[in-house]
Amino acid sequence: MKAKNFIPLIAFIALVALLGVGLTLNPREVPSPLINKPAPAFALPELYEPERELGSQDFLGQVSLFNVWASWCVSCRHEHPLLVELARRTDLPIYGLNYKDTRPEAKRWLQTFGNPYAAIAFDEAGRVGIDYGVYGVPETYVIDRKGNIRYKQIGPITVEDLNETILPLIKELQNEPA
């Protein structure tokens, strides 16, 4: 039983390990280069009050969620009840980015599914979306007190995501010194 007879077996096991890890990865999830960087600056009209502006300045001073959504987005409906519940149970501010939508349809959608948002930025052209690297709605950013993006959720938020990743992170960020 020479050692080198085991080389094909070892190579096979290594290959299986590599492929096995690969199966658990999701190629559609593109890691964001914005993590740990300041949330890109913007100022947009609010959805309900167009004369009022909502911007990146509003992120400063507290930990918040920035949720990108649209009335035409079907998967947004899956996560929306979670956001509504979160807004009801906690005082965590949830800001919305209404992405490439129309005002009437966005308002109608919120009337049907509920409005968890402290304020909603109306990004009609999607230009702010581009600055935030949005490529698949819904996407959600966890932003700390200093206005830095600390986490980006791609796709709808599930209960597991909330319990395992997002809520623990928020707690940690809220305990960070000002």
């Binding site: 593109v30 490439k100 999607g126 581009i130």
Partner: protein
């Protein structure tokens, strides 16, 4: 009659002009546009460039690139703009850095490694087949052949 045809000519040229302002890029700018959109990946249809993709995001990014070209940004600035927002994955041709060494060199290394192992195996096999018999084995061969020819007679 003259006024009418004059009006017709004017509205026709206005219409033609509005159609062409969408393509206000110079030939050089068009070449840059083509190059850039073919080097950037559509994040929605991830196996296509933003030149080829029909996704709404691809269209938005094409418009953005066109605007940036007209505004005077060079190719480097436009690519940096995209990578800043979407990361390295937006580059259709993966950049060469330590994270992507396995991607770029892996297949070549595996091919060379496989060929080397194959050649070694072939050499070993031919060495076994063409090997000379030892003295003992030669005597034994003679005896066996003798026995067979004896048996045949």
């Amino acid at each position: 009659m003259n006024r009418l045809s004059g009006l017709l000519a004017l509205s026709l040229s206005v219409w033609l002009l509005s159609a062409t302002t969408a393509f206000a890029l110079t030939p050089e700018e068009q070449a840059r546009f083509k190059h850039l959109t073919e080097e950037l990946r559509c994040l929605v249809c991830q196996n296509q460039t933003i030149a080829d993709s029909d996704a709404p995001l691809a269209k938005d990014l094409r418009d953005e690139i066109e605007k940036m070209i007209v505004a005077g940004n060079d190719n480097r600035q436009i690519i940096d703009f995209m990578v800043e927002r979407y990361g390295d994955f937006v580059l259709y041709r993966p950049p060469l850095n330590p994270t992507t060494w396995l991607l770029w060199f892996g297949p070549g290394v595996l091919l060379v490694g496989g060929l080397w192992i194959l050649l070694r195996q072939l050499k070993r096999q031919s060495a076994q087949q063409g090997g000379a018999l030892s003295e003992q084995e030669q005597t034994r061969l003679k005896t066996l052949l003798q026995d067979t020819s004896d048996a045949n007679e």
